[in-house]
Symmetry: D2
Subunit: 281 residues, 4 copies
C-alpha cells in the first residue's frame, strides 16, 4: 500500500506473431517485475493492445529503445509513471457529477489533480469553493458561440490539462475546440447511447416508454454524442416514473458512470480502437 | 395453491375523484374478497388504470352493471377468469426463444395454450414435434410478400388466437396484417430499443462500441420496432466481444425477456397507455 | 412542481374487508384529492399497510377521527406533512457515505435536516466543516463502552433527532442505546446480508470466493446485523479482485444504497412488518 | 466459424518471473498462432494460471516436453482439444434447469455430450425422453443413503463422465461419493451463497426479508454448499413476494446461472485456486 505505484507500459501496434513474447522478454532482461498484464488483439483492424504494470526501476530511454527492436514500425509505445493527470472540469447548473468528482478528488481516489472548474453559470461556485479550487464563471450571455468558446479555450489552456471533463456541461462544443483535445475530453451523456442522443434524453425516453434508462461516459469527437464509449450503466424504470422522475433517478447513474470512467481513463486503462474503446480494468 | 384462481377485474377510464372508492365499494357490496389491487393514474393523459384480483363467485352481468354506475362514460371494463390465452407462435431459424416457450408451456408456466407454431423455415420442426404441437412450414420462396402474408393470416386465423408471438420471426409484418391483431402481437427485438432498430442490431451495436446490449419485448404496431415496450433487459459487454459474440450473449437475454413479457401479458398485467405500457406485476 | 408537497396518510392495522373503500371514502368526503396510493396486505401476519398522498387542506383532527370510524381498533394512523426529518449522523473514518449524504443534504435531496455529525475519530471533521455543520469528536479512548455510549447518547439527544444514521460508524451499538431509537437508526452494512455479518465482510467475501458483493441498508435492532432490511444492491467481482479491491468497489455500492434508503425512509415510504420492511416507492 | 476449434493450453504452477515470456516463446518456436491468452497470478498463494488458445498443428508430446523446460517443477500442464465433455446429469422433480440443459445440448451450445440423466423421481422422464437420452429412475425408497448412493455411483461410472451436473438434485451427496469426482461435480444452489446454505433457501430468504435473491453455481466438495463458487447472479425482490414467489422468480436465475457456469467449465475456462475459482471468459 505504501510502496511506489508500479510503472505502466502501454503498447499499441499492428498485430503479428510473437509480440507478447518479445515485449515480456525485454522487461525480463531489464530485470523489472511484471505484476499485471493485459493484452488484446482486435480482429477487425488487426491491431494489438497491451498494458503492463511492472515494479522496479528502469531507464525509460533504454526500455523504449529495446522495445523498438521487437515491435513493428509505427508502434505507439508509452511509459506512464502514474502521476496524477491534470484535469479541468466544465459544468453548468447541475451539481451531482461535479460534487462527486470534487469529493473523490479531495480523497485522492481519481489519480487526477483538478486544476479548475469552469462554468457558464454561477450556481455551482459555492460548491467548488468548499473544496478550495479555482472556479471560473464564463457566461455566454450575448456572446457568439465562437467568441465564448475562444474564451473558454484560452482559460482552459492556461491550466495545460491532460484531460477536460464535461460534468453535465450543457453546451455542445464546436469541432474546432474538440480538436484541441483529441481523445482527451470525457463527457457524461444522460442516456444509454445511441438511444436518445441530443437534447432532453430523459424526456425522449419517457415519450418512448422505455423500461430501462442509462448513462454513457464517452470521449467527445466532432460528431455530437457519437464518440467512443467508455462505460454505460442502466437502471430499470416503470410506468409510474414521470419524465421528471427519470431525470432524478438518472442522476445517480450519471454520477456513478462518470466517476468510474474517469478512474479508468486517468489510470491509463482505456485505449482507442477506431470509434470503440479497449478497456483493461 | 390448489384453489381456483382469483378473478381479475380490469378497468381503464378517464380519471376523476373517488374511482377507487367507487369500484372497491361495488366489490365490497357484492361480497367478494379483494386479494390484490393495483391502480395508476397517468398524469399526462388523465387516464385511470386498475387491476383487481378477487376471490369469490360473482355474477359478471351484475358486477359490470353496478360498475357502470360508478365509472365515467366510455370506461373500458373487463372481467377475466384467467383462462389460458390461445397463442400461435411464429418463428424462423433460431431456436432459443421458441424452445424456452415450449418448455414453459409444457410445464404450465405461461397461462397460455399454444395452438401451433408457424415458420418460414423447416429447421425448427423437430423441436416443435418433441412437444407434440402442430408445426406449419410456410416458406415464402418466390411468393410476393402479400401472398405469403395472406397464407400466414389464413392459417393463423384457423386457430383463433388471442395472441401472436414472434419468437425471432425474421420477417417484418405488413401493417395490414398487424391491424388484424391490435395490441395482440408480441415481438422480441434483439436490441435495447430504440437503439438499433431494424436489421442486424448486434452488428450495429458492435460497430457503435456499446458497453451494454439488451433485448426488448414489445407489442407490434404499424411502425417497425416502435410499438409499446413491455420489458427490457440488458447485459454488459466489452471490447473482447465480437459481433458474433454479441449475438450469442444476447440470446440468453432475449429468451429471458420474452418469457417474462409473455407471462405478464397472458396474466392480464399489461395495459396500453398511448404508446407506453402500464404493467402491474 | 412549485406547489406545496402533498400530505401523506400512513395506515397500518389488522386486515379486514373494505379497508381501501373505507379510507378512500373518508378522504373523498373531506374533499381532498388523492394523487398517489399504495396498499399492501401481508398474508402471513394479516396486516394491512397503506400510504396515500393527497393534495388539499384538511383538519388533521377531523381526518383522524373519521378514519377511526372505518378502521379496526388498534390501527396505527399517521399524518405526515413531509417536513424534513431531523437527523444526526454517526461516522468513523471512511468518508464516502458521509460525503454523499452531505452533498445530497446541501442540495435538498433527502427530505432531511442534518443536525450534526458525531464521530469517534477526527479525520472527517474538515469534510463536515466544508458543509458548515456541527462536528463532534467523541473518542472512545480508554472509556468503557458504557461510558462512551452514554456520552454519545447525551449528545445525540440534545439534537432531538427523528433518525440516527450510521454512515460507516465502525462501533457496535449496545441494545440499551438502540432501544432509545426503535426503527429510527439506519445502518449501512458492507455486505449482502445475511452473508458476512459481523466484522471485515469484504475479507470474508474474498475468502469465500464470491462472484458478487453487495451492501445492505437496514434498521438497527438489538441483534447485530439482523435488523429489517431496507435496501440491498450488488456488483459483480472476479478472481482478479483482492480483498482490498473489494473494499474499494464496495464503497460505491454502499454510498448508493445508503443514499437511496435514506430517501425512502425520510419520505415515509418504509413500514416495518415484523422483521421485514414494506416499501412503497 | 467452420474451421477447427483452436487448441487450448492450460498451465498452473508456482509463480516466478518470465513465465509468460517462456511459455509464449515455446509456442512461437513451434510455429503455432496464439489467438487468445489469459494469465493471472494469485498474490496470496503465489500461483500462476494461464489459458492460451492457439491455432495450428503441434505435437502434444513435443509441446509438453518443451514447456517443462521453462516451467517450475510441479507445474500442472494440460492440452485440450476442446472435444465435448462427457456429462451425466442428476435431477429430482424440478424441470427448469434440466430442460434448459437439454435444449442447449440438443443445439450444441455446451461443448458437452450428455450421456444420461439419473433421477430419484420419475416425473422428469417424459421430458428427457423427448430429447432421446437415457433416463434412469433410481428411487431411494427405503434404501439407506449408503446403498442408494452406491447404486447411483455404479450407474454413473458406467458412463465414465468427465463431469456430474446436479440440476436441482435435492439430495446431499456423501463425501465418499464426492471424492470420486474431485472438482468435477457442478451444483446449482438456489441462493446467493454463503447466505442461506442448506435447505429451503427461498423460505429462509423470505423470513430474513432480503431485497435481493440469487443463485450460485459451484463445485461440490465434502462440505455442504461450501465448494468453490463458479458464478452467481441475483434479482431484486420486494415485500409483495411470498416465499412461493421467490421460488418461482428464482428459477429463471438458477437456470441462467447453471447454463452459463456449465459453458465455462466445459470450455476449460475455470481453474481452482484453493477454495476460489479463476475464470477466464
Amino acid at each position: 500500500m505504501t510502496s511506489a505505484k508500479p510503472s505502466i507500459l502501454l503498447v499499441e501496434c499492428a498485430d503479428r506473431a510473437g509480440l507478447v513474447h518479445g515485449i515480456t522478454g525485454v522487461l525480463f532482461r531489464l530485470g523489472v517485475n511484471v505484476v499485471g498484464n493485459h493484452e488484446f488483439v482486435d480482429r477487425t483492424s488487426q491491431r494489438f493492445y497491451m498494458r503492463t504494470e511492472f515494479d522496479g526501476a528502469v531507464n525509460a530511454h533504454t526500455l523504449l529503445g529495446e522495445l523498438r527492436g521487437v515491435l513493428p514500425a509505427g508502434a505507439d509505445v508509452r511509459l506512464s509513471k502514474q502521476e496524477p493527470k491534470r484535469v479541468v472540469v466544465l459544468a453548468s447548473k447541475e451539481h451531482h457529477c461535479l460534487a462527486d468528482i470534487l469529493v473523490r478528488h479531495a480523497f485522492h481516489e481519481l489519480n487526477a489533480k483538478l486544476e479548475a472548474v469552469i462554468s457558464n453559470h454561477e450556481v455551482l461556485e459555492p460548491l467548488v469553493r468548499k473544496f478550495e479550487l479555482p472556479f471560473h464563471y464564463l457566461p455566454h450571455g450575448t456572446l457568439s458561440r465562437e467568441v465564448h468558446e475562444a474564451e473558454v479555450l484560452t482559460l482552459v489552456q492556461k491550466y495545460r490539462p491532460d484531460y477536460l471533463v464535461l460534468a453535465k456541461y450543457m453546451r455542445v462544443l464546436s469541432p474546432w475546440l474538440v480538436r484541441h483535445f483529441p481523445a482527451r475530453i470525457v463527457n457524461i451523456h444522460h442516456s444509454f447511447l445511441p438511444a436518445f442522443a441530443g437534447a432532453r434524453p430523459y424526456h425522449q425516453a419517457f415519450e418512448r416508454g422505455v423500461k430501462v434508462i442509462g448513462a454513457t461516459a464517452h470521449f467527445v469527437t466532432d460528431e455530437l454524442d457519437a464518440g467512443p464509449i467508455i462505460l454505460q450503466q442502466v437502471i430499470g424504470v416503470d410506468h409510474t416514473h414521470t419524465a421528471e422522475d427519470l431525470v432524478h433517478s438518472g442522476r445517480d447513474v450519471e454520477q456513478a458512470v462518470l466517476a468510474r470512467a474517469l478512474k479508468l481513463v486517468f489510470e491509463d486503462r482505456v485505449f482507442l480502437c477506431g470509434n470503440r474503446t479497449v478497456i483493461f480494468d
